[in-house]
């Protein structure tokens, strides 16, 4: 397994005081908490931070960890030397169990002995299984048309000896038409297994949209930037605008400018009522890359009596 440099993870020198360690943890916990941080691996980093703090905040564990020596590098192949923990007693300092996550193999190999969880938060022989919450990433098209997606879940399973094992479960899930970002799909009984005949928990899937190359989604409404030529905007035109259900004719009113929003009613995600598609015009000028083109531009400059900055203060 890989060595973990807990000091490096917390950004601390090896002689940091317990006060330093506590302060560093609080600051980093706020920064890397998955609800606060937008980084893709926030959960991993937060878990890693928690593990590092669990060791360094407990003088016994910290001393034992320091005993391994400071010459190890993060990620290096590691095996604990036999008898390394002699002289130390690990009482159940406990992890902050926020769920069924377990610490790294590295931690388990050093401190695992006394830290089996009992498995169930609720007491008694028969208990309802845990609810599992997961995120389901779908494409806009999946919501527009409805779809079936395959989901791989890491499900914590409580072994008879008290350890927790992560098992992969594969489910096919139907995506309802018109589902919006943040909505949850509840699958009754698909959560953690019940104990002693208790009911299974539920599985909650929070829907998340993958970024789309064309559209941006807000609720059931979708937005698209549509490039148009200057003459299309100025004179008006009928052009084809993309929608998730296929291209539709869009009438551009004469005298349009960049930023103008045109509404295609009911062309957003389905629902009662369905969302709309908003087309945002972006005037793009043709490149002046031939002599002919440059001539035309100069003629325009001449013939138009137009100052785009007329409203701005001079000087």
């Amino acid at each position: 397994m890989e060595y973990k440099d807990y000091y490096k993870i917390m950004g601390l020198p090896r002689d940091a005081s317990q006060e330093d360690i506590k302060r560093a943890y609080r600051k980093l916990a706020r920064k890397y908490h998955p609800d606060v941080s937008k980084e893709a691996n926030a959960e991993e980093r937060f878990k890693e931070l928690g593990e590092a703090y669990e060791v360094l905040r407990d003088p016994e564990k910290r001393a034992a960890y320091d005993q391994l020596g400071s010459q190890w590098q993060s990620g290096q192949e590691f095996r604990p030397p036999p008898g390394w923990e002699q002289g130390f007693e690990f009482r159940g300092g406990g992890y902050t169990e926020a769920g069924a996550e377990h610490f790294s193999d590295f931690f388990e190999s050093l401190f695992g002995g006394g830290f089996r969880t009992t498995g169930q938060r609720r007491g008694g022989f028969a208990a309802r299984g845990e609810d599992i919450h997961a995120r389901l990433r779908i494409r806009l098209e999946d919501s527009y048309h409805g779809a079936t997606r395959t989901l791989n879940l890491q499900v914590p399973e409580h072994r008879p000896d008290g350890r927790i094992e992560m098992r992969t479960r594969t489910l096919n899930v139907r995506i309802p038409r018109g589902v919006t970002e943040g909505q949850r799909i509840r699958l009754s009984g698909q959560g953690g297994a019940g104990i002693g005949g208790g009911a299974n928990g539920d599985l909650y899937l929070e829907v998340e949209f993958e970024p789309h190359p064309l559209y941006r989604v807000e609720g059931r409404d979708i937005y698209i930037d549509l490039p148009v030529a200057p003459w299309e905007a100025a004179l008006g035109a009928t052009i084809k605008a993309p929608t998730p259900g296929g291209a539709v004719d869009l009438k551009i009113p004469p005298g349009s400018q960049t930023g103008r929003k045109l509404r295609l009613k009911g062309r957003g995600l389905p629902g009662t009522p369905p969302g709309d598609e908003y087309v945002v015009l972006r005037i793009v000028t043709p490149p002046a890359d031939t002599e002919e083109a440059r001539k035309l531009y100069r003629e325009m400059a001449d013939k138009f009596d137009f100052d785009p900055r007329a409203q701005m203060p001079r000087g």
Binding site: A29, D35, V36, Q183, D202, R216
Partner: protein, 105 residues
């Protein structure tokens, strides 16, 4: 191993779906007192559909879970957790708006 999720058992929690206090507590793995503390802070507002019968919009589920995580992981009290949830939602709204305005540039 592929398991078919029976369509009958899959339920979309959309804006028309209301949750009872019991359902909300179960889904958040939290005792009623903890959830009620968040109601008192104004994080979520129940509709009274009958005497002493509270119903919550489905969106309450995500807000309560986030508030509880922040309390557990960062040591926030209910008032602080609620403020944090509200600020995080505002940030997310602004980010979405920004993405929309910056568009394909």
């Amino acid at each position: 191993m592929i398991e078919w999720a029976d369509e009958v058992l899959a339920e979309l929690l959309d804006e028309t779906r209301l949750l009872s206090l019991g359902e909300l507590c179960r889904a958040c793995s939290a005792p009623a007192e903890t959830v009620v503390a968040l109601v008192e802070q104004g994080l979520i507002e129940p509709r009274e559909t009958g005497p002493g019968q509270w119903r919550f919009e489905a969106v309450a589920l995500g807000r309560v879970r986030t508030a509880l995580r922040l309390q557990a992981d960062l040591g926030l009290n209910p008032a602080g957790a609620v403020l944090a949830v509200e600020l995080l939602e505002e940030i997310e709204r602004l980010r979405r708006r920004l993405r929309r305005l910056e568009g394909s540039r």
